[in-house]
Symmetry: C2
């Protein structure tokens, strides 16, 4: 059957962080829940991409009709984990008018003068949109924790601040889909090296990425704390093995599509009299002939 | 030859507004400069879409490397002319991270309290990005003129204000591509009717569109004034026949791709020592084995 999904277990379950989840025993090359090969994944992704495009249009239509629902995809991951590729290949399947993509780098001076959630809150998607954060407020308990950029008492308090803020955001109508893309150190080195060997990728190469690699164990510890402390019912974490790009892209496509499906949005009802409008058009036509 | 372009004359020339251009003798069903059929256009669009995606990535890379170039696509047109379809199908071919799409509806109270260019200026694309305006500052000399929303002396002054502002924007590194999508009144009525007959399109149906249609001649006069007075060397207008959606989409793809090509952006040079980085990676590998 061409219509087989090849998902043995839905990624919303297979990838969701459960109590007791340990990053140290995580296999970044695995394909949890999926029993097909790459070619099956690619075919399936095309099909679900078409679904995603229609679901996004319904969300947009609802926003235009006064609905308050929106979607926020939060992408975290070590350098080269494929966050940009997710935006390009997954969100690239839907209408750009419905997507607001935002990257969070080192905070500007203005941003540093505010609470760490200030710049994040301002970037939330409008009703009807899919927002994408390439890195996010989680950097404030990841790079900031690893490098001790603020005192421990400050970053320790941020986990509960994040949980409270996300609960409020969800309460106001934004479905939050959090994905941590996990690449193995070996695959990361391959990807860094590939950027070095291709002049058209040099602009993506940053010598600092190799420096950050030296802090791998500290980053894993910081990620483990994020997963332990900020995977909540209103905004659960999904940990996505990212050594196989095709798997990671398919998994995020499915997570987004199923999150949109769960909103059960039909097309908005007409707020005008359809028959009366038909008659207006008929009168216009008869005048023009 | 599968590689034939089917353009007899490049759309940058075929569609560019020349002195003496008259909208009243314009054929919205024509396909200026293009001698192929729809199927040729679709094949060509796919090919040029791939070019566009790479050109956009180069622009983005330049922005990341400190370059100041950006691109702004200004879309104007009567209701149903296909502005949204252009964003969806043309800009949908490139990485969403590189595109900032913005629609300009009726100004908010805050926007009305400012100069008409205030909200426009704030929406300009960052360096490295392609900005898209679905409607724009031209509404301030179109709907505003047709409905007399400000005194004539005010809107009369806006043409030169727009020209000066656009010249400055271009001077700062933004290539402005202005496209007026022109649909015939007959085709517009067909498209409005189609929205009415499809419940999944009701959210796009606005009874006010038929009211606006009654002002068609006044709109054409206002568009003619825009084309006469704001097609400048730094920001020329292209008038795009839009009864055939496939033609309009192909033409805008080609206009954008050729505008990007004219920037002649290579990939940014490495700002690091490639050989030294290779050696760092080799040392890391030898340690890991």
């Amino acid at each position: 059957m061409g219509k087989r999904s090849h998902w043995r277990e839905h990624p919303a379950h297979a990838l969701r962080v459960d109590h007791g989840f340990r990053l140290e025993s995580f296999d970044a090359a695995a394909t949890p829940g999926f029993e097909g090969a790459q070619k099956h994944a690619e075919r399936l992704m095309e099909r679900r991409g078409a679904d995603l495009a229609e679901l996004q249009e319904r969300l947009y239509a609802h926003g235009r009709a006064g609905g308050d629902r929106s979607m926020l995809l939060v992408l975290q991951g070590m350098d080269t984990a494929g966050k940009g590729g997710i935006v390009r290949h997954v969100l690239g399947m839907v209408d750009p008018q419905g997507v607001a993509s935002r990257g969070f780098g080192v905070p500007t001076e203005e941003e540093r003068a505010h609470h760490f959630l200030w710049r994040i809150d301002r970037a939330l998607p409008q009703a009807g949109r899919i927002g994408v954060f390439d890195r996010s407020h989680y950097e404030d308990v990841l790079v900031v924790r690893v490098h001790g950029l603020v005192p421990e008492a400050v970053w320790q308090g941020r986990y509960s601040e994040i949980n409270e803020w996300e609960a409020q955001v969800a309460e106001r109508g934004t479905t939050i889909v959090k994905c941590a893309l996990m690449v193995s150190p070996e695959e990361q080195l391959n990807r860094i090296e590939e950027r070095l060997e291709r002049p058209d990728k040099h602009w993506k190469y940053n010598p600092g990425d190799l420096d950050e690699r030296a802090h791998w164990p500290a980053y894993m510890e910081a990620y483990q704390a994020v997963l332990d402390r900020t995977s909540t019912p209103s905004a659960p974490w999904h940990v996505i093995p990212a050594d196989n790009k095709w798997y990671a892209r398919l998994a995020v496509t499915e997570l987004l599509a199923s999150a949109l499906e769960s909103l059960e949005l039909g097309w908005p009802q007409a707020d005008f009299d359809v028959q009366a409008e038909r008659e207006r058009i008929a009168r216009l036509r008869s005048k023009e002939v």
